[in-house]
């Protein structure tokens, strides 16, 4: 079991190294290699689930990688979404050249994400975060179109600022404590070693740096450009997974596991969360570009996660972590839906669409699953996580936050139903008369993700027991 931890990094690395040769063998060989690597990674991380949060550590040749409840939850999210994105890409990438390079970069992005989740040292976390970032910049510009390159540059410039802030924070920690290992930092900070104000400064730098990576308002400027310009599977990865691992996981690990008392930053999380939840939803409402609308709604949903974390009580934390999983599933689904629409109509403008439900049945039905999940309609998965966050807010006597969360959930349902009406319902635009559903692998990826949105909602108790509660136990100091 312990060797599986190393394979989470070595399997994608091996696939990447083989990719240039394999992609020359046959046009479809790169698809098979990437899909097998993705499936293998899902299998490996699912094998950790029966441990229910027990910490496993791999020590070999002076390296140390660990899996605990918190990293397991995120590992499942990353690798499941990545596999469905690879499956979707098999047909979707027919519109692009350089298939082998695309898969290599996607697998390197997954490797980086797994690395961030497995390392137990802040500097190593930073190194793996850079792998994710550089792969993301190139993948956003993959189509080599003007808007993609412009968005990638914007993403790069803002991300460099984030990286700089994080690096200065790391420097401050290292200068004062002489280590960056999680366990040692935790002990030293708990013992009160070093000046407190300096660590608060480092905390502020980490919040700004990782906040930029998570696209939390007001650090969100790069996201609405970067996510729509990327190929759809990459938008799904960025919105569903990358902003959570690069931002939410890092912040959670730092302030709930390493810093001794998260109380001081809870209010900051709460304020940033409320701002993101409201701001993201309001701007999303006014978008006519479907992918831009989804991108802004991601900012709003990250707001819910931050609110859950900011509440700091068990209900809030469980809700936040459950929403990480749920948002990854329904937002990836919605981005894949938008990719399917763009694949056939070659537009992202919702005003040009209409009545597509008659021509693209699978995309239409699965997008309804995504809509109901993101709006928190029972029995879909989004309902339970939002419910826990709202109950957490009530338990913490944050009544205004609870009311806002309920109102914004209804508002989300409103603008997503509006999207449904503009895109799928109403009169069919004549120019879409001969439109067909997308190819098989794209449809399969959407169907599987839609099924998961429903199944996670129905069997939420099992998901909580095996994935979410062990992760919450780490945040609550139970492990």
């Amino acid at each position: 079991m312990i060797t599986n931890i190393g394979l989470m990094l070595l399997l994608p690395l091996a696939a990447v190294i083989l990719m240039p040769w394999v992609s020359r063998l046959h046009r479809r060989a790169a698809d098979v290699l990437a899909a097998l690597a993705g499936l293998g990674l899902v299998g490996l991380c699912l094998r950790f689930i029966p441990l229910r949060g027990e910490t496993l550590t791999l020590r070999v040749l002076n390296t140390q990688f660990s899996v605990d409840g918190l990293s397991l939850l995120f590992l499942v999210v990353v690798n499941v979404v990545a596999f469905f994105c690879i499956l979707y890409s098999i047909d979707y990438m027919n519109h692009y050249d350089g298939r082998g390079k695309f898969y290599a970069l996607l697998l390197l992005m997954v490797l980086g994400l797994n690395g961030v989740l497995l390392v137990r040292d802040l500097f190593s976390l930073y190194v793996y975060l850079e792998i994710v970032s550089i792969a993301s910049y190139v993948l956003v510009a993959f189509g080599l179109k003007w808007d993609g390159i412009e968005s990638a540059l914007k993403y790069l410039l803002l991300s460099v600022v984030a990286t700089g802030l994080i690096l200065v924070g790391l420097g401050i920690m290292y200068l004062n404590l002489g280590t960056l290992e999680f366990a040692e930092l935790k002990l030293l900070l708990a013992a009160g070693s070093g000046p407190n104000t300096v660590f608060l400064l480092a905390a502020a730098l980490f919040i700004a740096g990782f906040g930029l990576k998570a696209a939390i308002m007001p650090f969100h400027a790069w996201l609405p450009d970067a996510h729509p310009s990327a190929p759809a599977p990459i938008s799904a990865m960025l919105s569903g997974v990358v902003i959570k691992v690069a931002g939410v996981y890092a912040l959670t690990r730092l302030f709930f596991d390493i810093y001794p008392s998260p109380a001081r930053v809870l209010n900051v999380f709460l304020i940033l969360g409320v701002a993101s939840m409201i701001g993201g939803a309001l701007i999303a409402y006014f978008q006519s570009d479907i992918k831009r609308m989804f991108a802004y709604s991601s900012i709003s949903q990250i707001g819910y996660i931050l609110i859950g974390l900011g509440l700091g009580n068990p209900l809030g934390l469980i809700g936040a972590l459950f929403h990480v999983l749920n948002h990854a599933l329904f937002k990836s689904l919605l981005f894949l839906n938008s990719g399917a629409l763009q694949y056939r109509t070659h537009t992202r403008d919702m005003n040009e669409m209409g009545g597509l439900e008659h021509r693209m049945r699978v995309t239409g039905i699965t997008s309804i699953f995504g809509t109901l999940s993101i709006a928190g309609v029972p029995p879909f998965n989004g309902f339970w996580s939002k419910l826990f966050i709202i109950l957490g807010a009530l338990a913490a006597k944050q009544y205004v936050v609870a009311v806002l969360a309920i109102f914004l959930s209804v508002f989300t349902l409103g603008y997503f139903l509006l999207m449904q009406r503009r895109v799928f319902f109403g009169k069919l635009n004549l120019k879409w008369q001969d439109l067909k559903e997308v190819p098989l692998t794209m449809s399969l990826a959407m169907i599987f993700l839609a099924a998961q949105c429903l199944l996670v909602g129905i069997f939420f108790n099992e998901v909580l027991r095996y994935l979410v509660e062990p992760a919450a136990a780490i945040l609550l100091g139970g492990k």
Partner: protein, 164 residues
């Protein structure tokens, strides 16, 4: 004084990198920025980081940039751009040799940073292979991301060349 002058020049050269329209000038400006950074690192007593910055970033990377820029110029400019391409293997071997001796020298040296007490037995070799081994998979992956990233961005050019 030298520290502040280096910092100012570092910022100026870094800004110039973005403003030059000729990639060759941009590469040279980047190299000068790296040299200034090396001076700053020397001033702070981070000698090993300074030597690496000077040899790898100001030296090796600049050679690679200049060669790549020369090789990707239009065919009508090919005659004047072949010289760096011919010299590239020799310069690469030279830098690899220099780096080999540098690493050999560094391997046994004790790591001391400004403001840190010397840690007995903490050599560059111990730090790299003993303490930072976890980062090696990360470093390999970073190089691969860079390679695939460049291949991805340059693929339109190579396709055009194939058609020509």
């Amino acid at each position: 004084m030298l520290l502040y002058a280096s910092l100012v020049l570092l910022v100026i050269f870094a800004i110039l990198v973005c403003f030059f329209r000729d990639l060759l000038y941009a590469a040279v400006s980047l190299a000068l920025a790296s040299v200034m950074l090396s001076v700053v690192l020397f001033q702070y007593g981070a000698n090993i980081a300074a030597v690496f910055e000077l040899s790898v970033c100001a030296g090796l990377i600049t050679v690679l940039f200049v060669s790549t820029v020369s090789m990707t110029k239009d065919s009508d400019q090919a005659n004047e751009s072949r010289l760096p391409a011919y010299f590239l293997p020799f310069i690469l071997v030279l830098f690899l040799g220099l780096d080999f001796f540098l690493v050999k020298w560094l391997a046994g040296s004790t790591l001391v940073g400004a403001g840190f007490p010397a840690t007995p037995g903490l050599t560059f070799q111990n730090a790299f292979w003993g303490q930072r081994m976890t980062d090696i998979v990360g470093q390999v992956s970073l190089i691969l991301v860079g390679v695939f990233g460049i291949l991805t961005i340059m693929r339109a050019l190579s396709e055009r060349r194939k058609h020509d």
